[in-house]
Each structure stands twice: as C-alpha cells, then as structure tokens.
Symmetry: C2
Subunit: 135 residues, 2 copies
C-alpha cells in the first residue's frame, strides 16, 4: 500500500508533532503536569521574573491560554507571582518548584531519548539543528 503523504513535510510535521506530544506527556508518569506546564516552568526557571506575555511570545502560546497554565503551576506551589510595573506580574520558581524541576528535566530528557532511539542518534542531532532553525 502506498503512502502518498511521505512526500509531504507538512503532514509529516503534524504526525511527528503528535509523536513528540505523546513522548513528552507519557514521560511525566505520575507527575501532575502536561507538556505546556513543563515548558512554561522551564522558561520561568531560566528567566526569573519573566511575565506571562513574554513566555507566551517565546513559546507561541496565546495570552489567554497562558492563564490556566500559570494557575495550575501556582496552585501546586511551584510558581510564585510578584507584582511588577503596571499590570505586569513577575513569575518565579518557588522553593517547592526548585525541588521538582530536576524531575521535570529528567522526564523531558527521557522523552528525548525515546525519540532519539526511534530515529537514531545521527538523525536526531540533524533534526534538532533544523528545528532550532525554525523557531
């Protein structure tokens, strides 16, 4: 049976995007997070005091869709909000958040390993370089 979609990068991107999604979310195991939560936590961790809007721009997440993500992270006590200029709110990883960050990093890394094992180390590195070019 022929798969005519193999020639189309667009369709491939959609499918492999879903593969990445499943790899990431299954890697979290019992951790009560989804992949956007982890991504946002990592960005806050690397940029203490960053605002929701800035994170949204960095990760291509709409402002409105940032709200429930931050709310979850705050509710778990992993992220703190401190008033900034105007209506802005600075975001910081809390002490409890610092404790869980290594687990989040390790889980994300295991998803990386899963993908690398699936396509081979060489293709994996090429893929990383190209995707980096896109964003």
């Amino acid at each position: 049976m022929k798969n005519p979609l193999e020639a189309f990068v667009g369709f491939h991107l959609v499918r492999t995007g879903n593969l990445g999604l499943k790899a990431l979310n299954s890697s979290y195991g019992d951790l009560p997070v989804r992949h956007p939560d982890v991504a946002v936590a990592m960005v806050i961790h690397a940029n203490p005091g960053i605002t929701q809007s800035s994170i949204g721009k960095m990760l291509s997440i709409q402002r409105s869709n940032m709200v429930p993500i931050i709310a979850r992270l705050e509710q778990r006590g992993w992220v703190e909000r401190r008033a900034g200029k105007g209506k802005t709110i600075g975001l910081f990883i809390s002490p409890d958040g610092e404790k869980v960050m290594p687990a989040l990093q390790a889980a994300s890394q295991s998803a990386e390993d899963f993908i690398a094992a699936k396509i081979g180390a060489e293709a994996f590195e090429q893929l990383r370089a190209i995707l980096k070019k896109i964003s």
Copy 2:
C-alpha cells in the same frame, strides 16, 4: 531572554507540528476541508478500495476518528463506499473527487512551499528525509 526549550527536540516537534498544521489548513482557502480529510483523500486516491481501518493504521488515526472524516468526504460526493468482504467497505475516489484532487494536491504543495521558504530549501530536504525515517 533564554529559551531552554531550544535544546529539546520533543518540544520543537510539538511546536513545528502546529506550524505544519496551520500551514496546511490555511492553504486550503475556500475548500471545505481540514488536513485529515485531505490526507485521507490522498491515501484513497493512491490505494483504490482501501478500508477505513487500513487508512487509520497508515496515518495513525483511530478507527473511531476515521468515521466523521469518511462521512464528510462521502457527503461531499468525493468518496464512494462499496461493500467488500465481511464488514469491510472499500473506499474509492468518485468522479467529482477526481476533479477536486488536483486542487487538494496543489494546496498541500503550497503549504510545502511555505515551510520550505521559512527554513530554506536545504534544511527542508534534510527535514523531509529525517521525518520520512520516523514514519
């Protein structure tokens, strides 16, 4: 501002997958289709008489999620169903479907061009080769 996710292929895949999704769906313009419809139509076109289940396996779409896709294609008169062995139903592109296939192909190709323009022809070909390796 640092973006720690640039190091993670998994997150990249999710984001670029969404990029591919938007590129594809916006390329269809006035055509009353979404990207799964086009993908399925292309597979039927390349494999006359194929069953829903086989398409689902090829494209990683659940059996249950194939139902509304086929229903839409049939309702538009682009796809015909003919009884096969047992409970199986063979799928075929109808004459009306044949007429619209070039437009679907062209639209999908324009999405390809959009992505290629975004990352450059060289990276695009590398990307195609690697993604082909995944599926």
